[in-house]
Symmetry: C2
Subunit: 447 residues, 2 copies
């Protein structure tokens, strides 16, 4: 049963539907906050996630609620905007409706901002052994895998198995992989090192595997080299130029080299959400919809695709990168364009991406910043990274709390969010009775 939602007062204002409340979708909503139209935001989650800090939840530095805000709160003051917690599954271009699980929503303008999902390059069977990091659930799951590995190592009497439990492999040397490797090394060698009695957390081994020839390929070579050295200083074993050829219950195979590892994390690739298929747009190899210079889809001047779901060629002829600032700029661009259309102005300057540079952090006191020709590494870059991330976090309160948490972690080397609370899914490495029951004990619902 599909019920189109029409304005309650019966008048027919234009209906603008935004699918996805990530950086792009919320930025569009903000630009449309004063539009004489009904804005509907659809998301299958009730919260906006600040994904650049997701790895900090996975490594117990921040709690989930510190990097997520309820969508309804964010758009509370937009009186023209309503929020639907539901999942879009298709678009009916003929009837101009977004199809949700059990209803449909009519649109006059449609903005698809559904983001990206992880890609195992045709090896989806690796997913249970090497979880990716896209959602809060992923982050909770990975945090519990990491913490449980240390707990099990503490009780394990077999030396080889203990080594396997204390080996952590991150696949993919982009910003997420580099940040995760640095954070896990610091977690093991600093935050946890005083907490165990028989386990020597210093013995924990962190491997970062990148199939390409250098880390952080979107940065300059100088930055790649800095990141490499900074990770090596932290004891991370960086393997370049060899692809992962298998992930299984024992560990991971890098080239011909088997590494026994209880915890493997996938940070190697993304593909677009299927929104391109919903609207029948041409898509590239990563599933991203090709869009015009005004971010509309060919043949539908009222359907826009933005962010990681779109393959956008900037005004300078270069592809726009899949980064949060790019998605935000696209959202703002589309919002303003629709505002002009509502006023009867149908002109449209093509979308221009302003490149404010790129940022990545390797760990405490070490980061890389690259803005145009300007480059910064080390402690100054790390401070800059902290300030930028705190500034862009949505919500004043969250900013204060995160700033305090980071200051605290910096001075004490502590990690406050080290909780094992949920049932672990995809329990790939629980292949013998000992580990099974240790996990069962850890996750059993206390009464």
């Amino acid at each position: 049963m599909l019920n189109a939602i029409t304005p309650a007062n019966g008048t027919r204002r234009p209906s603008i539907v935004i699918v996805g409340a990530g950086f792009g979708g919320l930025s569009a909503a903000k630009a449309l906050a004063k539009a004489d139209a009904d804005i509907t935001i659809i998301d299958r989650r009730n919260h906006h996630l600040f994904q650049p800090l997701l790895y900090q939840v996975a490594t117990a530095a921040l709690g989930p609620n510190q990097i997520a805000s309820p969508i309804r709160s964010i758009v509370r003051k937009h009186r023209n905007t309503s929020v639907i917690l539901d999942e879009a599954i298709n678009v009916d271009r003929v009837n101009q409706e977004v199809i949700l699980r059990d209803r449909a929503v009519s649109y006059d303008y449609l903005i698809l901002a559904t983001g990206a999902q992880d890609s195992y390059f045709g090896h989806d069977e690796w997913a249970p052994y090497a979880p990716a990091l896209k959602t809060l659930e992923n982050a909770n799951d990975i945090r519990e895998r990491i913490l449980l590995a240390f707990e099990r190592a503490e009780l394990e009497e077999d030396g080889a198995e203990r080594d396997r439990l204390l080996t952590f492999v991150i696949v993919g040397g982009g910003p997420t992989g580099v940040e995760l490797a640095g954070a896990i090394a610091e977690l093991a060698k600093r935050a946890l090192s005083c907490d165990f009695r028989t386990t020597r957390c210093h013995d924990a081994k962190v491997v970062l595997a990148e199939a390409g020839s250098r880390l952080l390929p979107s940065f300059s070579e100088t930055v790649s080299n800095y990141a490499y050295r900074a990770l090596e200083q932290r004891g991370v074993d960086v393997r370049l130029g060899v692809p992962v050829t298998d992930c299984n219950e024992v560990g991971v195979k890098i080239g011909e080299d088997h590494i026994a590892a209880a915890t493997v994390i996938w940070a190697a690739g993304v593909k677009a959400s299927p929104a391109g298929e919903w609207i029948g747009a041409a898509t590239d190899r990563a599933g991203r919809a090709s869009v015009n210079h005004d971010l509309t889809v060919e043949g539908a001047a009222n359907v826009f695709v933005i962010g990681d779901t779109a393959s956008v060629i900037g005004a300078d002829g270069r592809p726009v990168p899949g980064l949060a600032p790019a998605a935000k700029q696209q959202g703002a661009y589309v919002g303003k364009l629709i505002m002009r259309r509502l006023r009867g102005d149908h002109t449209a300057a093509p979308f221009r991406y302003k490149d404010f540079g790129a940022l990545a952090t390797v760990g405490r006191s070490a980061a890389v910043v690259e803005v145009g020709g300007f480059r910064l590494t080390g402690f100054a870059a790390w401070l800059f990274w902290c300030v930028v991330h705190i500034y862009f976090l949505i919500g004043f309160r969250t900013r204060i709390v995160i700033a305090l948490d980071w200051l605290w972690s910096y001075f004490t080397l502590d990690r406050g969010a080290r909780l094992i609370v949920g049932a672990r899914t995809g329990a790939a490495d629980m292949n013998n009775a000992t580990r099974k029951s240790a996990a069962a004990a850890a996750i059993s619902v206390a009464r």
Copy 2:
């Protein structure tokens, strides 16, 4: 396979085993921090939980990591103490071993501090429809039930079903029930009221059902009356003197009165953990082990039971209440007693409970404090409540963060921790396709 864990260095220091890292167990560990003995803390969770604030996680005021600390961190500086993440399932008194899931741990002294669990008074079949609030998982589950109820009401077209979704019943008028009722009323009428477009959150109905003749039966009658009035002012429908006679997928039956409610929370009763049975002690109706005046079990001078697992008669002949301060005092008492025994001093003054009074909060700016003859209600009591709870929270960082969060909530009426992240278990109220798919959408794993 059971392996007794013996000290690594081969010398035979006395082994003191503490089962349970709640208020009692940790307090004992602290008193034993300098003992010339090997202390082992066993808990099936990796974290200590500050249970008095659990209802704040359930009502989205605090995040889970703000009221929980890793046990290993808490005892990090006790060089004689190790922590085992595993579940105790029995005690072998003959061989002096605690039996865990797949090992055993020898003890010379044993402290059982395993706490209490919820009791449905013989109606365990009500549990799926009326979850209790004892663990972080419970709190996450209840928070998601509450938030999803509002989300579903926003999309529901049937008026009766919308009313059912906006009805919240709390069973039990003790401190937890009173605090939950007040917090849910404030959540609906303040934090959420601006966030929805079609749902009128002000219409949310909160019912507090207590079978006895007054709220907060452990306080004086004046305090009970204050709590009753404060809840009524917040719009809570308080029903006294009528027991709950059924919980099912539609709602709850109070006496002969059916209330259609999508969210029912059980705060009506507890029973002790089964530790009393493990050691073959005499137990009372609530399953608590009877102990001697020095908190040992009859016939075993080296086995102690403390906290909610024990039925303790104070030196004044009155039963000691099941409160956090009582558990802490008992833990400290037993720790010091064992310290004396290790020095060869086998005297023992009986345990004396120091009653520092009782505290409960009804909501923002309203609480009750009762210390001996002294009584405080209203804003001053609420401030006192805040200070006491922040003071007793473990960890300096947590204290600052919680203080900030409360100040923030107080001035803005906002609730920051409103996240729906996990798969809801015990999905009792998803009995038609609409609700099923709304939930599926809400909890589907985003990619």
